[in-house]
Subunit: 379 residues, 2 copies
């Protein structure tokens, strides 16, 4: 097997030129020989997560996207608006590989026994540059998938499952007793709902559409409120009273939603208050913004007292903060429950070149809840 | 002396009626007999702080204020807009005493030796209901002022001095090395500038007007930037690079300023970054909103990576968190430096009835940096 793999392969790259052009293209790159503690992975499934989109598109305006060429010569371009170029300074002119996570077969291995033991196994990795046909990675970065698990089933082993688990972990560590999640019908949201049901953690699911509410209720969700409902604020407050949630994770970021959640938390807390406090409830209310589905401004009215916080939240710094042992326990749970709690669903499977077609980019660039693409670099 | 004080006195009260009328009036209330560990204070100076205004006015619209009656029969009224009545629920129909802090002479004392020792002394207290002619308080709540210090000089011993000191304390405890302050030409801001100069702490002062910049520079401030300057963002970023400040205390609350500060912090951090990070700087940037000079919505563009937070900040929960010993050390510093670091300045002195005149209410209700009133309830 070691002798039959090609010495190079295609890799998807993202480049922002100083003149404001974003260029996505496929490069033929050499596959590095594995060191003693490394393996070469043939990538067979790698998802396009919201967390990949920032690096992939930068600050480009997706309404300007176009694509030329065929197969490995496909090149997609788009314009980065002038005002947004400032935030691109640190990556200008650098051709960057993309793709946080994926899975595939180990086709070559270094001499260490740990590396050799992986030869022929289907493994998942969180290693970056996964939108590639071949990737040379450390053996200890590989999570061997349970027998009978395909690369497609294991492709999203890390980002969504660990994010959902770490939301619950954050809740526990920061002293909250239940939580709120927006964009709750996403793959991640469905996982979080399954975790909370399994672990008896109170969860308030916020969705935008009736069909998303129906989907979550069919999956056993106890509290689902829709921003499309005229009674949204009252519905949300009622669910917050029922669960006692004082922590929210918000994937939308822009608009009024984060502030509306804090306002409803304050109303819920005041329903049980016995005395007037000029500064509002003394219970700390927190919203963590972990995504930017709405790229517009965040706005809020500060009608929720003084004990509140809004902030950014990212998986990787959180994992570092809790330490290796705690993080490993979470990873082990993912591997064990991969086909149940942590199952992912994809709208369709595309090749590397297929991911550069305008209609595909429009689909995942929209960051829509219902749409999720998987790349199979072998296609 | 114990026999010559009246058995009652006037007290300013704030009432929001269920029909949406705010009523400010003076009530004649009995002065409670001091228990063994209590003293009766004749209040001689009590400031109208921004932190008093919320309780005083509730959510009333100050453009609707009017006043009737004279002397102790003065009654001021204003309308609370319908939409804001929801936030008034917990105080509806309750006649509330106002005034966080003040100073005066101990005119009667309980039998305990600690209480007796205060008889005739000028003391400052943070006890609430200070907009009163007489207040019965615990002896151990009293901070005896150094000899030669007037009640007016000691009236603002607590709120502003401890707030300024606790901002620096927050900076140290949360691992920042310098700080930013908005509304920096206020009494509080001038104190903070004096503390930072004395303690060699980097401080970026943000003001709104050229004359405020001149005032702070005349007081030795090293970094002063004005939102009125066309180069505000660049000036701010330069001051942030120079100081390394990653923490800000914002008194304005509404508008774009909090987000602009985070954006400038991110720019300052990126000037020293060597590698592109798709999630922005990994250094945590924090803005605490501790006031609401701008009562409008808070808005921000999230152009500052993912390591950020915005939240409410209040003096009293912070003092509780740091514990009695640390808080006492801060109080002692205030008493020692009362005429220097912690000196306050007032625009004018009014009686209790004078505080209910429309022109006075317009003045302190405006929450303007340059305007600060002191009430002398003896007038």
């Amino acid at each position: 097997m070691n002798t039959r793999i090609p010495t190079d392969g295609l890799q998807l790259r993202s480049l922002v030129r100083p003149d404001g052009e974003l260029e996505l293209s496929l490069h033929r790159v050499a596959t590095p020989e594995p060191a003693a503690d490394e393996v070469v992975l043939r990538v067979e499934a790698t998802p396009i997560n919201p967390s990949d989109i920032g690096l992939l598109f930068g600050a480009a305006d997706l309404s300007t996207v176009s694509s030329a060429g065929v197969g490995e010569h496909t090149v997609a371009t788009a314009r980065v608006p002038g005002a947004a170029m400032k935030s691109m300074g640190a990556r200008l002119g650098q051709s960057m590989a993309v793709g946080n996570e994926g899975a595939g077969t180990v086709v070559r291995a270094g001499s260490d026994s740990a590396a050799q033991a992986l030869l022929g196994r289907t493994v998942a990795v969180l290693a970056g540059a996964m939108y590639s046909q071949y990737r040379t990675v450390k053996a200890d970065q590989c999570l061997p998938l349970p027998p009978g698990t395909s690369a497609a089933e294991g492709a999203s082993c890390f980002v969504n499952p660990l994010t959902a688990l770490c939301m619950v972990e954050t809740m526990k560590r920061e002293g909250h007793k239940a939580l709120v999640h927006t964009a709750a019908a996403s793959n991640l949201g469905q996982m979080l709902n399954r975790i909370c049901l399994a672990d008896s953690v109170g969860l308030v699911n916020i969705v935008r559409k009736p069909e998303q509410e129906a989907l979550l209720r069919a999956q056993g969700a106890l509290h689902v409120v829709s921003t499309a409902s005229p009674g949204f604020a009252e519905d949300l407050t009622r669910a917050l009273v029922a669960t006692g949630a004082t922590l929210a994770f918000d994937a939308t970021g822009g608009g009024l939603l984060a502030g509306q959640i804090l306002g409803a938390m304050e109303s819920a807390l005041n329903q049980t208050a016995t005395e007037y406090s000029r500064y509002g409830s003394t219970t700390h209310k927190q919203v963590y913004i972990y995504g930017g589905l709405d790229t517009g401004r965040t706005e809020f009215a500060r009608n929720f007292g003084m004990a509140w916080g809004i902030g950014g939240w990212l998986l990787f710094p959180f994992l570092q903060r809790i330490g290796g042992e705690a993080a490993q326990a979470l990873r082990q749970r993912v591997a064990t429950e991969l086909k149940t709690t942590f199952a992912s669903h994809y709208t369709r499977v595309v090749s590397l070149a297929g991911a550069l077609q305008p209609e595909a980019m429009a689909e995942y660039g929209r960051r829509a809840t219902a749409s999720k693409l998987l790349i199979d670099p072998r296609l």
